[in-house]
Symmetry: C2
Subunit: 504 residues, 2 copies
């Protein structure tokens, strides 16, 4: 058995390393690659993907996993080795259920669709992408059919992001979340608008970069095992637990772009840096799921990074860096500015509160399309109607409406958005649990110390990597399932204070 | 045949892409990778190398090459397709002659030896590396034995760098070169020393970088298909003909480090950027050999970049950038400073003239060791004696003597150095041929134009990639073989003028 386990680990390590190499190609393409490198880079990535697919679906791997089943069953469920075999089997089954031909077709369609979207979006030309999106919907449904026995057609697609999570569960949670959120957003909208003009001055790039580095280093992002670069769209990528990099976008006329993208990505990155090094080189050396990963970027960005405690420490430092711009702006004014609620047609420009409504809408529209209750050609109208209903705004054109996000145009409908809102819900559940264990966390933040919080997150979430599913993890930590109450409580308290509303 | 050729190209493209990916991993490691990434990076490179070896030695590839032999023979020798099949067969035969086990042993030894060297060098501790070097010598000889039928044991090792080149040929050329060089170096040494203190002032990094970018862009290095970064040791690396990157080292207190490393690497890079895009993705899409590649870095660095014509254009611009440092330094003084001949114990600090003597010594010592006429433990003494004989200096310690270069300590003795001196010889042969075709090149340089020279090099050398061997290429271009006369003529003229010596 020893020998078989070693062989399994060697095979999985090779797949892990090839995945990491593919991630480096992608990082390079988004940071430093000259324009002339595009054609070869696409070929290199395709070559690697083909090799990874071969290795991940090799029958020898399947036989090993079968042979190791009795050994796995003899071990505790959450031992490293049982978890390794369990998760590797899950990946293998997923990979082998979908024929290579279909994956190639999906991938080719994804490229063509993405290309069409890059042309359609600036022009607000939905008709341009409609046939692509229709095919995407068709392929997404076909993909689901490779996993028969589902309750809801979206289940297999959500499962790809959050193993074991059901559409029915998410839908029920999101319905309650929307019920609770709408009155809060409406009450806040009725209050006088906040002046956030202090954020929109000229902030030289070099100082912004220096500040973000200082902030995320203090939060606990380890620069000896990572680095921060600029890219058109911020992201986090991991080549090993020893090399987890973040990228940010800097806007000289808007202070928040670099700042919050840096904290957001550092949240993802501290998760990956916190994975037990014993899991290095295995499929366990990544986050539990897309929603748990998002819970960490959100926890650090919003619950920590947009809190009064955080800024009572960092704001004087920010004022020192930008004396002309912020010298006369009070902490209170700044704090209110970075938390200003103002419904926007654009998801990524949305405030913490209304952001969720963008996600819930996308989730519902995905389901309606997959269920066959909404045709692709009806999508723009449905989108705009829901925006009006939930946020009281109608996008000026499809450019700022149904065409704004790349997700559906990158080749898949289903499972693309739920993680963003689940991440918010989970961030509050986890932060609550951390506070129960360490009430001193708030005071520590006020003095610029984050080690207790980070230590708790590492101990309870990060080190486990992908051992547990989303549900298992939240159950282990909170003793209950997914629950919106902590998040709603957090929002009511914060925005009640900010907008002087005693009762929503 | 069509189908077989397509299959061959697909296999070769995969190998090419995997090699390019390995090169990216290396580039990243030398430029931006955080320290924490080292362990995984070594694993990733080993994984890729293993895959490349599998693909490069696959019996299916061998069968294809056999099947394509009649087709190859039906085509003109220098057609793209005949060349592709010919060069691919050469690579395949080389790769399959050496057992994978031996390669693994060599590679493991190379790592261990390199590690020992990094510790031994700062301490000048030759005894520390002696046993490693003895094993390296042994393995190098064993490697040669996998290619039976050689004339000289170094032949197969030189052949790895310069296909078809024999030890006897190189030895004869180098003996004549040394005979001619020694009197020139001695005559120059007898002249009053040149004052080059203008180069050793404080030159802020940002301006140095800006200047190097301006220079190499004007020479013809295409930044849309490349970029320049900093690294501890300058190098050029190519991920496709559309993405050829250079790195340089900047020293704030020595102007020449960044400047000439940038021009040197740009010479390599313009070669790779000039390869016919039709050859992209094949084993032909690289330089002809290590010596031809070096001829291009040397041609641009020395013949162009250290010429009076070049500086009559660029020096005023350099003075503008550094008015305090160079405002009062005349072009003549600067030109003499960058061409100062001053024998140094260190190869990479050597001037254009004495540099060659460093290489000839290393070449001779390699042969003596491979022939069994020199034991590893006698190497430091032999090194120092030759330095004294040729340059009149003895290194203060082995740190600045036999331990200074990584080459032998990276796992191989034989074929490591000859390319540097052959490159010098070839640079003059090629430049002479270019001048014969376009005498206006000199005047164009004086007005900052290099397109005629670059165009000629592209047409005659770069576009062909690896179609021709070193000898074939020099024969095609000059109508003769390797010949030191143009190089000696160039040195006599340049250093005769610089040092006021009418007759060497």
């Amino acid at each position: 058995m020893e020998h078989k386990l070693e062989e399994l680990k060697a095979r999985l390590r090779e797949i892990y390393d090839l995945e990491a190499i593919a991630a480096l190609l992608d990082w390079d393409q988004n940071t430093y690659m000259p324009a002339g490198g595009v054609a070869a880079r696409m070929r290199q990535i395709a070559t690697l993907r083909r090799l990874i697919h071969e290795k991940a679906t090799d029958v020898g791997l399947g036989r090993l996993l079968d042979a190791l089943r009795p050994y796995e069953e003899s071990l505790p469920y959450d031992s490293d080795e049982a978890s390794l075999i369990r998760v590797a089997r899950r990946d293998y089954e997923r990979a082998t259920k979908v024929p290579a031909d279909f994956m190639a077709q999906l991938s080719a369609h994804a490229s063509a669709s993405f290309q069409a979207w890059t042309e359609a979006r600036p022009a607000g030309d939905f008709a341009r992408v409609q046939p692509y999106l229709e095919k995407t919907l068709d392929l997404s449904r076909q993909l689901a059919e490779f996993f028969p026995g589902y309750e809801h057609i979206a289940d297999p697609l959500i499962d790809l992001q959050d193993y074991g999570l059901r559409t029915a569960t998410v839908r029920a949670i999101f319905e309650r979340l929307r019920e609770q959120l709408l009155p809060i957003v409406k009450a806040v909208a009725a209050r006088p608008p906040v002046d956030d003009s202090c954020l929109y001055q000229s902030f030289p790039e070099q100082q912004q970069l220096a500040f973000t580095v200082e902030v995320v280093r203090r939060l606990g992002y380890d620069f000896t095992r990572g680095r921060q670069d600029k890219s058109p769209h911020p992201f986090t990528t991991s080549f090993s637990t020893g090399d987890v990099r973040i990228t940010i976008r800097v806007m000289e006329n808007a202070l928040t772009a670099a700042l919050f993208s840096s904290i957001h990505e550092a949240g993802h990155a501290m998760y990956d840096q916190g994975i037990d090094t014993e899991l290095e080189g295995t499929p366990l050396a990544t986050g539990a799921s897309s929603s748990v990963h998002e819970s960490q970027s959100r926890l650090w960005e919003n619950i920590v990074g947009r809190s009064k405690s955080f800024w009572s420490f960092f704001y004087p430092r920010l004022q020192e860096l930008f004396p002309e711009q912020l010298g006369d702006v009070s902490l209170e004014t700044f704090y209110r500015a970075i938390n200003k609620v103002k419904p926007s047609p654009i998801r990524i420009a949305a405030d913490e509160l209304s952001y969720n409504l963008h996600i819930l809408m996308r989730f519902d529209l995905e389901l309606q399309m997959l269920e066959g209750r909404l045709s692709v050609h009806e999508l723009p109208e449905a989108w705009n109607a829901r925006m009006e209903e939930d946020l009281g705004i109608t996008p000026a054109s499809d450019k700022d409406g149904v065409l704004q996000d790349v997700h559906w145009y990158g080749g898949m409908i289903g499972g693309m958005f739920h993680g963003y809102a689940l991440g918010n819900i989970l961030s509050a559940q986890f932060f609550d649990a951390a506070l129960r264990a360490h009430p001193e966390i708030i005071e520590e933040m006020e003095s610029g110390h984050f080690a207790t919080l980070l230590g708790w997150l590492r101990e309870n979430i990060y080190r486990h990597g992908r051992k547990y599913t989303t549900s298992e993890l939240v159950e282990r930590i909170t003793g209950e399932g997914l629950n919106i109450e902590p998040y709603i409580r957090y929002l009511r308290k914060k925005y009640g204070e900010l907008y002087g509303i005693a009762n929503f």
